[in-house]
């Protein structure tokens, strides 16, 4: 089968699109079945197979109903924490990102396996995605393209203002055919055209930022006018990083694109099995990517000149440089003194990047991530003797007299306490989730000295108001 796969790709690139289009979908269906063989190494299995195998191997255990309440609460805790267990090793990350978002607006997106259809679901998540992206990466820029009927059409220009993109997507969603926007998805997508256009968009971006392409592909074929491998080679030369989110099935060509542009790493290609999965995969790409060793020489510590303007209010309205509208206030570029309305922006007259220090501060948590907190065993609890959560004063369950027979749940602590490795304070699961997802600070580390094991006579030393035996 692998031989025929190669042939298949060869045929595709030799032109004669329309005939192959019809047969292509048939072959694409076949290819879905052979997806198992498409992964390169033998022994690695697809994600769905792995899940199947795991549940088959575990013997069915009769649950112990006496521990029902505790089991349920532990399961809830494990679920909550599952989201936050990311790798927290501080990598060097690309903070200034230039991303091209490519949407699949082809026939296959009208499938109703996601309600109401894949296309609507994608558009709905995209709005959230854009807001989240600019929240996490305030000094980055996005442009949105779409693959429609074999062509690649630009929806919005490369800019750092989220509203441009949101308005464009809303116009597409309202779908009344104005402005040459399509009403409904049609035709088949063309990955090559998309990649070529992204390359063109990102050609002028400076080297100190990342160049990324995120393709959402729902179809199982691609309809290209030329040799896609040549395009992939030129993308690699231009240092583009492509990641693809497929829907419901893998394609070998996507795997190849992702692995070649990411230096052999296939993890950029994710396949969503339902809409929640699609959302998770989308949101995962809002985190800045780690920089690779090969790129590091070029990107090593450029000093970027940026301006930090202050806001001014004026008596009489004056023209702003970005829109040409009359406004009464705005930000003044420190170098050329032109007025712009909103930040972050590039000054229209002197091309200086203008930002607020808060925008830089938003990315600090990626560079200095909060370490994961560890689960606390009962022995440790007996050592530390904590009764309340340091962050929110919620009470912890007491030390049991006998050994706890409840199931050991992966991801949740048997004592419902979670310890920060640096300050040794104990927290509850809600604070754990909150601090790792929203706050990115450890309250214990920020608020004083680390907790110490209380003295053996049972009394806590030091300030009676401090918690958990902190001195």
């Amino acid at each position: 089968m692998s031989d025929s796969d190669n042939e298949y790709i060869e045929d595709h690139s030799s032109g004669d699109d329309h005939n192959l289009n019809v047969g292509g979908s048939g072959r694409a269906q076949r290819q879905k079945g052979s997806g198992r063989n498409a992964t390169s190494k033998p022994g690695t299995r697809a994600r769905w197979e792995r899940a199947l195998r795991d549940t088959n191997n575990e013997p069915n255990v009769v649950a112990d109903d006496s521990r029902l309440a505790e089991n349920i609460s532990r399961r809830a805790e494990a679920q909550k924490r599952a989201r936050i267990r990311k790798d927290t090793k501080p990598f060097q990350r690309g903070i200034i990102r230039h991303m091209v978002l490519v949407l699949d607006v082809s026939e296959m997106m009208l499938e109703k396996d996601m309600r109401p259809n894949r296309y609507r679901v994608m558009l709905r998540y995209l709005e959230e995605y854009i807001l989240e992206f600019f929240e996490q990466n305030p000094i980055s820029q996005i442009t949105v393209l779409m693959m429609y009927d074999g062509r690649c059409i630009q929806l919005s220009e490369l800019s750092g203002n989220p509203n441009d993109h949101i308005n464009a997507i809303q116009k597409l969603r309202d779908g009344d055919g104005k402005d040459e926007l399509p009403k409904e998805p049609k035709g088949s997508p063309s990955l090559q055209n998309a990649l070529e256009m992204s390359r063109a968009m990102l050609y002028h971006t400076p080297k100190h930022g990342t160049r990324e392409v995120l393709i959402i592909l729902g179809a199982l074929l691609t309809n290209d006018p030329g040799d896609i491998h040549k395009t992939i080679a030129s993308c690699v030369k231009d240092k583009l990083r492509v990641s693809i989110i497929g829907i419901f099935a893998r394609m070998k060509i996507c795997t190849e694109i992702v692995s070649r542009t990411n230096g052999g790493d296939e993890s950029g290609y994710g396949v969503a099995t339902d809409d929640v999965d699609l959302r998770d995969l989308l949101m995962a790409s809002t985190s800045p990517p780690a920089m690779r060793a090969t790129e590091q020489e070029d990107a090593a510590a450029n000093l970027l000149v940026m301006g930090f303007p202050s806001r001014t209010e004026e008596e009489h309205p004056s023209l702003c440089a970005c829109h040409g509208e009359l406004t009464r206030g705005g930000y003044i570029c420190p170098r050329c003194k032109t007025k712009v309305c909103s930040l972050p922006q590039t000054c229209p007259s002197c091309q200086l990047t203008l930002i607020l220090s808060t925008h830089l501060a938003r990315s600090y948590h990626h560079l200095f991530p909060l370490r994961n907190w560890l689960e606390v065993s009962w022995d440790r609890v007996r050592e530390m003797r904590t009764t309340q959560c340091k962050g929110c004063l919620k009470k912890f369950p007491g030390i049991p007299t006998e050994d706890d027979g409840a199931d050991k749940m992966d991801g949740s602590s048997e004592s419902s306490r979670y310890e920060c490795p640096s300050c040794h304070h104990h927290f509850c699961v809600d604070c754990d989730v909150f601090c790792h997802q929203t706050l990115y600070n450890c309250p214990g580390c920020q608020s004083g000295p680390p907790a110490q094991v209380p003295a053996s006579n049972g009394e806590t030393t030091g300030d009676p108001m401090a918690l958990d035996g902190a001195s």
Binding site: L303, L304, P309, E313, L356, A361, H365, C392, D463, M465
Partner: protein
Amino acid sequence: MDGVDATVRGSVRTSSAAPPSLLTIILDTNPLSWSHLSSSLPLSAVLKTLLIFVNAHLAINHANQVAVLASHVDNVAWLYPTPDDGDASKQSSQTNGHTEVADEHRVVSNKYRPFLTIEKNISKNLRNLLTSDIPSAEALKSPPLLAGALSIALAYANLQLLKADPMTSDSASTGTGAVGAADLDAHTSALRTARSGHQFVSRILIVSVSQADLSSQYIGLMNSVFAAQRLNIPLDVLRIGERTAFLQQASDATSGVYLTYDPPNSTANGTNGAATASFSSATAGLLQTLMQGYFSDVAARKLLVMPGSAEVDFRAACFCHGKIVDLGGVCSVCLSIFCLPLEFTSCPTCQSPLRVPKSVTTKPVAFARRKKKKRKIGDGGRDSAAGTPVPN
């Protein structure tokens, strides 16, 4: 038949009852800073006014809650609810706290019981805090642990939000926020306010007196500010003393109120009308500021015009000197800000070699212009440039 049609779908069960509200107060208790102020505004007087403010907050709604934290010299301590005191949860979730039989009948029978409990707890805890551990003179100069206090306050507010409204708070914490208030536009702010809980609101009041520099806690502070933005918790700041840029930026980013209170330098116990018979004019002014400026919660702020100026200094401070810069260089790896001209070859924070673009280092030089030969008048055409080339 029209009376039957229940398609007045939009009619939400409106009640003018406001949602329960949590007020968290972070009190800066650095003894050194308070001693500077003891002539015009002693800590005891400020504590008294704060207690009245707290009582007023609890008075207007049975379900309102309060929490008080002290950011002390080297640690952050809870003043209310008291930790390690049996049911901290009972104090905060039930109706403003119940207590055992009080001692003095006269005091008890003339004061609303919940007010009394809370006041007692706060005073007792503060007294314990201040008398237990006398910090060294060195430690007194260090800045108050504001980032820590904010983190704990936010974690507590998050817990109360979860308790009040388990469903919507989940989407709020993972949901969308928006970039800082200064460049919010109608669309994104509408998205953000749409998520603001109707069941529970909270806010944080920071009373700050210390002069110390907060830049060592910069990252922690900014993280807390962004988290407060996400949760729609305004950070109000009452500053007694000079202006701090950080706190002003923080309150502006979260749509809070920033006011500076300047106590009049009088120690005389003047009476200001019947209302403030037992107060000096300084504390009376403080109380009125609190009551009018900071009393309203998020729901009421939509209806009122909030005090505070619109001018906020957003400029950053450079990491090498601490000077305010408006045009600076940023390391692309670790995002630290430096002022120009640069004095290092490698970034102090991340130790990576810095490559400075030429546009910064090269000095602008004027090009020397070639001298143009001037035309002399009346000289015929002989000197004008070279003669006509003659073919050989």
